[in-house]
Symmetry: C2
Subunit: 429 residues, 2 copies
């Protein structure tokens, strides 16, 4: 029986999950695959931390570099995260001809271009299913299951924290701060939640998905990123009036060479499957030709789901090692760099909530400015009366540059009492 | 550049879709993969049929056997369906050392065991993504994306015709016959819809999924199969009272060696994602450890979606051919035969609709019989009064044998006016 030796760097939450999964399913996998997936060494800085797995002393490497240098190791699994040590470990492992499995979205989003290229040149496997959406096999689906397709768009709920918060606001009428507090108490949000709620985590994942889907390198800095901190319960309720739900979406679109890649709260039709994705779950909707629309849903984070993805990657590589066909599939296709549309250049529909003094002529003032900038109005809601009231307008498709110009003008009108809220709308997911 | 020669048997709907997909995406695939997927020969009995693709004369094989015998052909794509010629073509192709792609669910469900074994012995690839759920990469997901998992259950909406009919009944209040008629007019149902609405098509797909997920051969005849012809609008409306939706589900469950494989209409919680799958779409929910719950959704049939799956399979095999690693993954794991529970032996909850004369003592008579057979009652609805009325009972978990015994007795009671309707319930998908 073929033995494949695994070196694990980082025994945190996911690393511990991997050890547990190997303990639980290793014997059945050995039988199923005819391969012994042998966890040979683990490098970890802090062995004193309490963990719910017991690691024999013989598995403890003297350090990550020693682990990488060990000639017995076939696959290096990097689970420490971040762009510092992780990067140099992966680069070093590839240099030494090791295959790599990583869950490191921040690293791949920032430095994937060079790392992917290094793996390709070395004829090595670099797998990263766990970097996007935990247990959901979205990387494999785009790379292989939809290999025959031209992918025209991706719409993803890829951050469980944000989806939990928005779901609680929608289902239980909580305000943002209350829902965030609950998410923190339940462990769905970090003590410092910025990376999640500001949208950056979603942008990392989108960079990876969009690069994979297009074969074009999508740099992180080109992704327009807006979090959910400005979404209010009021907007969620108005959205419902339009039969819409607000989700934080990671959006990729491609028409020929025109590429869009952006992360922001989005009104989507309540009847779309993504609108039914609640709690901390993730889901990704991919549109391709000839497949049509495919949606994948599951647990996007957590010890076990992420370990599932890491271990499935290890299996894929082990199958390649046995047959001597490493590098059988490129980590990404190679198609150059993408020219990504600036956010100003996109065209979509908009939900606009104005705070205005309730008096005659106000709507005429607003719609006049919108009209002069070619922004058509699909519908208007003004239910409250007296004092300062919200007026909500859904536009037809319009150029974002024009919408921003219009809002800059409108927000200077004397009867407008607060900055206008803008949320983008996706009608045809 | 590596050229992989493809021989296509059957230029029907899906075959035509494959030709179109190759025409549309072939150039980009060549660039992406560095492989020329070359459609070398097509075998088709009726060249006179009108098709929306033009096939050069040079591609027309003199017959399927000649195509299979052609030494240039690397991959034989079987798209004629059925268990007759298709079987002998696939067997012959494997004998001659050709790799095979097929969309033939009936054949694999009935004769997969031998065909898979033949491919394995020959070290050949036999791919069949298109046999289950069209464009949805469910085979790849179970075989590879979740390779690290022990799969404990699968719940699938795998027949678009039935889901279309049930969706229309649910959303528009149509009776079964009316919804079926509409499905036929729109092309979602065949003129002879039996294979779909009696559940057999779903059973074929379940046999394949369950065999793949368990590594145990699940014979078609062991799958309890019940279609949707007895589902009435009344049942759909009562289901809603319980916050449930009725779907035709293909169900696989495994606990140790206890395996269930069954197809029947099922009440599922309205909040579950599968409940939101409407129209002719398919979706499959897979539960595994450590991945948790994964749902895949998409177009389960049709020319383009099915061609997407066929072509993605061709790509997978072409990548293996280039690297000389055919047979890298077994078509199924090899774990012997499954001992499948008889339907009598399953335990679940039941929705029971009795037609009874509205008079005192009736409920006592029914519940007395249920109680004596250890069938606990979760809730009762009787909204109508006078004459013959429906009484609906949701049970707790009970043994099906007992439920059947109870119904046999109840249906003989003098105040029971029609055969009781039984629909199984799945609480924890």
């Amino acid at each position: 029986m073929k033995t494949v030796n695994i070196g694990l760097i980082g025994l945190g939450t996911v690393g511990t999950g991997l050890v547990k999964a190997l303990n639980a399913n290793g014997p059945i996998l050995k039988k199923r695959l005819g391969i012994d997936l042998n966890l040979l060494l683990i490098a970890e800085k802090n062995w004193r931390k309490a963990r719910d797995v017991k690691i024999p002393l013989s598995l403890r490497a003297s350090g990550a570099r020693a682990l990488i240098a060990d000639p017995r190791i076939d696959i290096v699994v990097e689970l420490i995260g971040g762009c510092g040590d992780a990067r140099s470990y992966i680069v070093e492992a590839l240099k030494r001809g090791k295959h790599v499995v990583t869950a490191n979205k921040a690293l791949l989003a920032a430095h994937g271009e060079g790392i992917f290229e290094q793996a390709r040149r070395g004829g090595l496997d670099l797998y990263y299913e766990a970097s996007v959406c935990g247990a959901i096999p979205i990387i494999k689906t785009i790379r292989e299951g939809l290999a025959s397709n031209r992918i025209s768009s991706i719409f993803g709920i890829v951050n469980g924290t944000c989806n939990y918060i928005l779901s609680r606001m929608t289902e239980s009428g909580m305000e943002f701060a209350e829902a965030l507090g609950e998410a923190q108490r339940l462990g769905y949000a970090e003590a410092n939640p910025a990376l999640d709620i500001e949208g950056d985590d979603s942008a990392h994942k989108l960079a990876i998905l969009a690069t994979l889907a297009s074969g074009l390198w999508i740099p992180l800095r080109a992704i327009y990123t807006e979090g959910i901190t400005h979404v209010s319960l009021m907007d969620i309720r108005y959205a419902r009036e339009f039969d819409r739900v607000i989700k934080l979406l990671a959006i990729f679109k491609r028409q020929g060479n025109a590429v869009e890649a952006r992360v922001h709260p989005t009104l989507i039709p309540a009847r779309h499957l993504l609108a039914s994705v609640s709690g901390a779950h993730n889901a990704v909707c991919v549109n391709g030709h000839p497949a049509g629309e495919i949606v994948l849903y599951g647990s996007g984070a957590g010890q076990d789901p992420t370990a599932s993805a890491v271990l499935s990657d290890i299996i894929d590589i082990a199958l390649n090692i046995r047959r001597g066909c490493a590098g059988r599939i490129s980590p990404v296709a190679r198609g150059g760099r993408a020219a990504i549309k600036q956010i100003d250049e996109i065209e979509t529909q908009y939900y606009l909530r104005f705070s205005v003094i309730d008096r005659p002529g106000v709507l005429a003032g607003i719609t006049g400015i919108l009209g002069r900038l070619q922004i058509g109005i699909a519908s208007v809601i003004q239910t409250e009366r007296g004092g300062t009231v919200p007026v909500v307008i859904m536009t037809h498709r319009a150029l974002e540059r024009n919408v921003r110009k219009a809002l800059a003008r409108i927000d200077r009108l004397p009867f407008v009492k607060a900055k206008t809220t803008l949320i983008r709308v996706e009608e045809n997911l």
